[in-house]
């Protein structure tokens, strides 16, 4: 794990690449670097080491104290900060959003667990609509250029962000990737996030719409298990409907669960393989373009 940002191994930093280009090792986080005296060791007294679940009804003012190096009674000057821990990412995301708006670029953040069919959906969409819409694609994966190479075959400009061991894209990575990709005015920027239903939900990229994709080979209880992602999405695409006769997936149940988490969520059921429902997705994309 990168000891500066936790985004991957120091020797495997997040990198941005275009198909056919050699590896460029750009470390795309911004950090303040702190170099302390690393040979100076301190015993640390950990006041709480047991698991500590928080149930509703528990005293909300109960605090966890740890990493206490004998400063039990601090008599210093208190400075109120009140800053959101995600403020930097949110600020960067708003910068991205402003840039996209000014240039009439519609940015869509596609999130899902691995294997739901995000890349296949993108391939099919680009091939179907590229005469009407200029597509630009950002692919996010921990490793490999495989997805970017697939998109490259369609002819759409694509850039791959490899996060190393990182579990999500953030606004800074997208900012750098957009500078490299240089999408044209009025284009549609599709950002395929790292396949993960947990971490990407916290990180605004500056997108105008977030689309969560689930497939009929997954459990219909995904929205309840990963509520943050469904809560923050605008559209839920249910893919692989061609497999419905062979799997136990109950579409109506999945919709109900998702609506409990997010009553405003829209749905499109489709099969990238058979083409069923794709017209609804194409229409949604056209309607939601800025």
């Amino acid at each position: 794990m990168c000891d500066t940002c936790g985004c991957g191994q120091p020797d495997q930093p997040a990198s941005i690449r275009k198909p056919g280009n050699p590896v460029s090792h750009t470390h795309i986080h911004e950090h303040t670097h702190h170099h302390g005296d690393m040979e100076h060791t301190h015993p640390h007294e950990h006041l709480h080491e047991h698991p500590h679940p928080h149930e509703p009804g528990q005293d909300p003012d109960h605090a966890h104290h740890f990493h206490d190096a004998n400063h039990e009674h601090s008599h210093g000057t208190q400075i109120m900060v009140g800053q959101d821990l995600l403020a930097k990412n949110n600020l960067r995301a708003e910068r991205n959003r402003g840039y996209f708006e000014a240039r009439h670029i519609t940015a869509i953040n596609l999130v899902s667990s691995p294997g739901s069919g995000k890349t296949s959906l993108l391939e099919k969409t680009i091939l179907a609509l590229q005469n009407k819409i200029s597509f630009f694609i950002i692919e996010g994966d921990q490793q490999t250029m495989l997805d970017a190479d697939r998109i490259h075959q369609t002819g759409a400009p694509v850039i791959q962000i490899n996060t190393g061991n990182g579990c999500h894209l953030d606004a800074m990575m997208v900012n750098k990737a957009v500078k490299e990709l240089d999408p044209t005015d009025h284009s549609l920027l599709l950002i395929e996030n790292v396949g993960n239903l947990v971490c990407p939900s916290l990180f605004d990229l500056g997108e105008s719409k977030r689309v969560v994709i689930m497939s009929t080979t997954e459990g219909e209880d995904k929205p309840l298990k990963y509520p943050n992602m469904f809560r923050t999405s605008h559209l839920c695409v249910i893919n692989k409907t061609d497999l419905l006769p062979y799997v136990d997936f109950q579409t109506e149940k999945a919709r109900q669960y998702a609506l409990r988490v997010n009553p405003h969520l829209e749905f499109i059921e489709l099969s990238v393989k058979s083409g069923e429902g794709l017209d609804l997705w194409y229409k949604w994309l056209q309607v939601n373009r800025s």
Binding site: G6, G57, P60, V81, S201, P227
Partner: protein
């Protein structure tokens, strides 16, 4: 492991505040973590423990304050405590609710020597 990214943000904010204050040792910091913020408090504690070494927070006492989640019903305006994002309003049973507390991820304060 987005908790590790957050731990790095916490250290960064602390370093900036220390710089603004001129100098001095940071004795303690207070953080607020909503119970439905998407962050596991134990994971954040662990991430901080491993990442503060060699930083301005190496010797600081870190207090994590959980903020209990409350939702407000968009249909009948009833406010109630929630432990998840899919509890219906106990008064009118609607799922159309919004979180009014419990999504916080905030650096509340720090105390300088």
């Amino acid at each position: 492991m987005h908790e590790l990214s957050l731990a790095m943000n916490i250290i960064e904010i602390a370093a900036e505040e220390q710089h603004k204050a001129g100098s001095g040792t940071i004795l303690s910091v207070e953080l607020e973590v909503g119970t439905l913020s998407g962050v596991v408090i134990d994971a954040l504690e662990f991430a901080l423990e491993v990442s503060v070494k060699g930083t301005v927070l190496e010797h600081a006492r870190i207090e994590l304050h959980p903020i209990e989640a409350e939702a407000s019903c968009n249909q009948c305006s009833h406010v109630f405590r929630v432990g998840d994002l899919f509890t219906s309003c106990p008064r009118c049973q609607s799922y159309d609710t919004r979180l009014v507390r419990g999504h916080e991820l905030r650096f509340r304060s720090l105390t300088m020597e």
